[in-house]
């Protein structure tokens, strides 16, 4: 499986966020998207998830399920945790597992893996920001999807949870999955490709055609 973007241009609110962006991610590879604020890291991830339309350019997925669109291949972990405060931890995860197409038992395993098994019957309103993030991460395990799009996944996670997430990512890569991570800091993986967003634009500015 290979995800390729070519000549991508993103315009948001009349402002050009990036232009002529190209990248390739192979199965078993992780691509870390870096750059200063406003460089378009989140926009790129949302674009792959099908939540932002590219102004120009193409996104292609080779060897994917031909019946499904790219956005139906992805796990999108955005800035928001998509949790309902009045539902319990288990109900929250169970709902996303069922909606995104996963099984019930895996949800329990996922809850245990992120250290929330003991809190399963608790309404999500009682969770701290870090615990909410863990619950969002549990989604990645509860449902199998080949492409992971993680937007600042380590923000609000403590060291232990960051280790759990890094282990999850390694396992996903070992299972021939793809990962795109937008991040400011280290994500705990070795040997990953990097895509610098701000650089590319400044390069274009310094070397005019």
């Amino acid at each position: 499986m290979r995800l390729r973007g070519s000549d991508l241009t993103c315009v948001r609110g009349g402002r050009e966020v990036f232009r002529g962006l190209a990248f390739t991610v192979e199965a078993g590879e992780a691509l870390v998207v870096t750059g200063p604020n406003g460089a378009g890291k989140s926009s790129l991830l949302r674009m792959v998830a099908g939540l932002v339309r590219p102004q120009q350019g193409q996104l292609e997925l080779e060897d994917g399920d031909p019946e499904l669109s790219i956005s139906e291949h992805v796990h999108y972990l955005g800035h928001q945790d998509a949790l309902k405060p009045s539902l319990s931890v288990r109900e929250n995860l169970g709902f996303w597992a069922a909606l995104l197409g996963g099984g019930g038992e895996k949800s329990e395993v996922a809850l245990a893996a992120v250290g929330l098994a003991g809190l399963a019957p608790l309404p999500a309103i009682y969770l701290s920001a870090g615990q909410r993030r863990r619950l969002a991460v549990a989604r990645l395990m509860a449902v199998e999807r080949p492409i992971w799009l993680l937007d600042e996944p380590t923000s609000t996670l403590d060291a232990a949870a960051q280790t759990i997430l890094a282990d999850l990512m390694r396992a996903h890569l070992a299972g021939r999955g793809l990962i795109l991570v937008a991040s400011h800091g280290p994500i705990g993986l070795d040997g990953v490709k990097e895509l610098r967003l701000g650089q590319q634009q400044s390069k274009q500015r310094t070397q005019p055609p």
Partner: protein, 244 residues
């Protein structure tokens, strides 16, 4: 046993655990006497046997007002002294007051049907009770919408006190509106002079209803305290699990 002792939730639970059976027994006893009195009460020369509905209708109306007074007193406790037990008292009183107000409305319309030929007329008293019912529902909705009980208590307290000031104004306006439109043929519920043979059972029933309210209110307050303990424990549990 001073009021300060009562004001501690744990003490309140311990004390009411002992008091509740006695309250319940007193309520049952009062109702037994009241129902007997009602059974032997004479018919009204004008309204016949339907006057028997009055023995639940009027006490229910009284409790509908009384519960709001209790809530207002509790609201003062919440706003002035910030006492958590006052929050609990206010929250527990709202659904009970609403239920008695509903009872007043239902019995009133069942009483009115033989008198007026229709289940509802926009009679000044009944209409005021209907507005009171709506205000109860508003308070309950406010309690249900806010998650933080302390915050909800303050909001509900303000609403309750505003309501307490407004209810007489509403009552006056409705009376005025009603006399403006009132067709002369409509019979008013409840006369100004009540025969003693009817007054005695009415008072006994009012006492029985008040005892019932106190019993239910105390029981509901106990539930409310337990609900807050559950909430506290859930927050503690979430906090205790911060590690992996």
């Amino acid at each position: 046993m001073s009021l300060i002792d009562l004001a501690n939730p744990s003490r309140f639970l311990a004390l009411t655990a002992r008091a509740l059976p006695w309250l319940a027994a007193a309520t049952v006893l009062a109702f037994a006497i009241g129902i007997t009195e009602v059974y032997f009460a004479p018919d009204d020369y004008q309204q016949g046997a339907t006057v028997k509905i009055m023995f639940i209708h009027v006490p229910a109306a009284w409790l509908g007002v009384f519960a709001w007074i209790v809530m207002s007193a509790a609201a003062l406790g919440t706003l002035v002294w910030r006492h958590p037990l006052a929050d609990v008292a206010a929250k527990a009183a709202a659904p009970i007051g609403a239920a008695f107000t509903l009872m007043c409305l239902v019995t009133g319309s069942l009483w009115g049907r033989p008198m007026w030929g229709t289940y509802w007329v926009w009679d000044a008293r009944l209409t005021s009770v209907l507005v009171l019912f709506l205000m109860y529902l508003g308070v309950i909705a406010l309690w249900r919408t806010m998650d933080d009980p302390a915050q909800a208590a303050r909001a509900a307290a303000v609403l309750t006190l505003v309501g307490a000031i407004n209810i007489p104004i509403i009552k006056f306006s409705v009376d005025w509106w009603n006399t403006l439109h009132q067709p002369a043929s409509v019979l008013r519920l409840g006369g100004s002079t009540i025969h003693p043979a009817i007054l005695v059972p009415l008072i006994v029933m009012a006492v029985a209803f008040t005892l019932l309210f106190v019993t239910l209110h105390v029981a509901a307050m106990r539930n409310e305290i337990m609900r807050r303990r559950v909430r506290t424990l859930m927050m503690l549990q979430a906090g205790a699990r911060m590690g992996p």
